[in-house]
Amino acid sequence: MAKTFKKPEALSDQTTHYCPGCTHGIAHRLIAEVIDELGIRGRTVGIAPVGCAVLAYNYFTFDFQEAAHGRAPAMATGIKRVRPDLVVFTYQGDGDLASIGMGEIIHAANRGEKFTSIFVNNTVYGMTGGQMAPTTLPDQRTTTSPAGRKVEEVGMPIKVAELISALQTPAFVARQAVLKPKYIVRAKKAIKKAFQYQLDGRCFSLVELISTCPTNWGLTSWEAVKWAEEKMIPYFPLGEYKTPE
């Protein structure tokens, strides 16, 4: 019997440490499938963040560097500038990219660094126990906003895809979701486009992925998918925000 579905070569055999219902696994798989399809595993370098995906390098089978919190875009800049033939991507969460690393992502995007950022938005700091993030929705309860996010005190959630696409230099900015099959198919297309643009020598590309955190949201896996669909997508609309001219 022919094998019609198998693990991508770019994905390792290791069992992940992610919680049940977490969508990091889907995001990882999509990246691995794209790397396999583009045949670039031998010249790809990933940058792992600080956060839940700090051990992401255990789940891929190509070269990886591990960044300090928020600094992945600076490291990717260093790599890509000195080794332009490498395919470089950062994998970052919302605390990492949108809070402590906001300076690095904005400037890397604005310089038009030729790497790709995969931005996983699940509205909370997952690894440290579900604290409020710059992407936490208004009135959303977290362990550091027990009465809900008060926008009059800490402002509205940051829309990263919109923010980056307001810059003139980046080539491709999209937001998709890794929730249900219909979204996942579009998410993979966006990731593949981002990597393809990088291979074509285009400027910076970013794909934001609407994701879940059932553990810190206090929901079951399926409730988390529905919550993300009903609460997050209306505030963080899906689509392509910037494409090359």
């Binding site: 010249r43 790809t44 700090v54 990886f64 560097q65 591990e66 600076a74 260093g78 080794r83």
Partner: protein, 359 residues
């Protein structure tokens, strides 16, 4: 190229190119901005990479990324900028990557001032960033020596897979002196297949490389930190450099001084010699590893009554001098840290007063 007159900062930039380092990331800060200005022009001429980062924090990680994928890379900054790069220095040391950092020191703490200082001694030699790591720290006393140390720094960083710091006071960067460079360019190392993230297809084996400093398992972190310690112990055995001065005389006092300050001390030693007042000097060229044995040896001299650490700080290296002297004689400190370099006369008065107190 022959002997030419060159400003320290520019000479440092040229020395890196001659050492085969064609990758430079930096952020402007007084008094070392001329390095970036010089290299923004020179790097394109030699096909190298020049990038002005958005902050010293980001620059530290550009260096980490570039070093991690096996490129020869360096940056230059000054005291407050080095504070911001210290996080990256900790990570780069933990991940065992080679890189060169140049600190052209200015006064502190805080914004301090922009005049010369040696007040980052602790930061350079004792950490600055978090965790159990050390930098190999070299301290030039002139522009020619800065050139030579920059050129030595890259192979040393690669030998130990550890950051090397060139610690120069502001004068080293700002003054002009005659310098000579070797003519040929050295090439980048290519023997980093077993660790650098240069892409799997660039190496013969099918292994993939990881550049990281995270070890969640206590036994693994313990083992990793012991590997690092073994490297630092090897530096202590193999890399100590110092210059003895007037140690053949029967000196009453031993001066320990480095960088620009040591040149003033040298003049003071010469003046005192004419007066018949002998003073010896040990000038550390490496601050880590510190020339402990040379200093301990020097204070064993029967005539030596006191060791004096003379530095442009409020007393930092003096702690290492005390450690080296091992209680064999009193240890004193003399220095300034506002930005003025002590004069030979001030050094002479200080040394005489310390000796007088003991007689």
């Amino acid at each position: 190229m022959g002997r030419i007159l060159m400003k320290g900062n520019e000479a440092i930039g040229e020395a890196a190119i001659r050492a085969g380092c064609l990758n430079y990331f930096a952020y402007p800060i007084t008094p070392q901005s001329e390095v970036a200005e010089y290299l923004s022009r020179r790097m394109p001429e030699v096909g190298g990479v020049f990038l002005q980062g958005e902050s010293e924090v980001a620059v530290g990680y550009m260096i980490f990324g570039a070093a991690g994928c096996g490129a020869r890379v360096f940056t230059t900054s000054s005291s407050p900028g080095i504070s911001l790069m210290s996080e990256a220095l900790s990570y780069i040391s933990g991940a065992e990557c080679p890189a060169v950092f140049v600190n052209i020191m200015r006064g502190g703490p805080g914004l301090g001032g922009i005049l010369p200082s040696q007040a980052d001694y602790f930061q350079a030699t004792k950490g600055g960033g978090h965790g159990d790591y050390r930098l190999l720290v070299m301290a030039p006393a002139g522009v020619q020596e800065a050139v030579e140390m920059v050129m030595k720094a890259f192979p040393l960083a690669e030998k130990y897979r550890n950051p090397v710091m060139i610690l120069g006071d502001g004068l080293i960067g700002q003054m002009m002196e005659p310098v000579e460079f070797p003519d040929e360019l050295k090439s980048e190392p290519s023997n980093n297949d077993d660790w650098a993230t240069s892409g799997m297809e660039t190496r013969k084996s099918s292994r993939r490389n990881l550049v990281k400093s995270l070890f969640l398992d206590s036994e693994q972190l313990e083992a990793h930190n012991r590997v690092l310690k073994a490297k630092y112990d090897r530096m202590r055995r193999e890399e100590v450099r110092y210059e003895p001065y007037n140690l053949e005389a029967d000196y009453k006092a031993l001066i320990v001084s480095y960088g620009t300050m040591s040149r003033v001390c040298r003049t003071a030693v010469d003046i005192l010699k004419v007066e018949g007042f002998e003073v010896g000097m040990v000038r550390p060229q490496t601050l880590f590893p510190f020339p402990e044995k040379a200093i301990e040896e020097a204070v064993r001299r029967e005539s030596c009554k006191v060791a004096v650490s003379i530095e442009m700080s409020m007393g930092q290296m003096v702690e290492d001098v005390e450690r080296s002297v091992r209680g064999r004689c009193p240890v004193e400190w003399f220095g300034k840290s506002g930005g003025d370099v002590p004069t030979p006369e001030e050094v002479i008065d200080a040394v005489k007063s310390f000796v007088k107190e003991l007689i």
